[in-house]
Chain length 106, copies 2
């Protein structure tokens, strides 16, 4: 999935992670969360990659901080966050960042 050519300012949620072994329902939940996020107010797009070394980076883009907070509090998403913390991720870090400028070869 791509999120190209958005006009700043807007917000980015940079989520970096390393997974534990096995699936344990991760793939299905990940897909479901993508579907849910797309329906949220203020959602602008998402880009995701996981490399051979196991590091995953997902960046989702949002109109406002309020939209990000609302998505964080969605009940089904909160359950997924809990399972992520307990079972799916060895490490993760979530960064909330204001995109001030952007340039591209689109």
């Amino acid at each position: 999935m791509f999120a190209r050519g958005l006009t700043p300012p807007y917000y980015a949620v940079i989520f970096t992670s390393t997974r534990t072994d096995g699936d344990g329902g991760y793939d299905a939940t990940s897909e479901r969360m993508g579907e849910l996020a797309e329906k949220q107010p203020g959602f602008l797009g998402v880009e995701s990659a996981r490399g051979a070394d196991g590091l995953g980076i997902t960046v989702s883009y949002w109109k406002t901080l309020k939209d990000i907070k609302a998505w964080k509090e969605v009940a089904e998403h909160r359950i997924a966050q809990g399972r992520g913390k307990q079972a799916w991720y060895k490490h993760y870090e979530t960064r909330i960042a204001l995109v001030e400028r952007a340039y591209a070869k689109l």
Copy 2:
């Protein structure tokens, strides 16, 4: 490579790309740019992943906007940027973002 537990505020450069076919010197230059970036003033860390669908995401972290501008202007880096634009990338987008908050399972 990981960049964990930095204390906001600081800057993130989110670089997303899709590659053209073949290497054409890309891997060697990519490695060299990583080495050079680490020596730059204000460099805090970098995280990179490229997925099976070809989308690559590299996020580098910097103390200030001035440090990012200085790195962009480094002569050897400018040459690499030119080759990237002309030869290595089908598409790319660079976003400069101020990290306002972060939370983690480290």
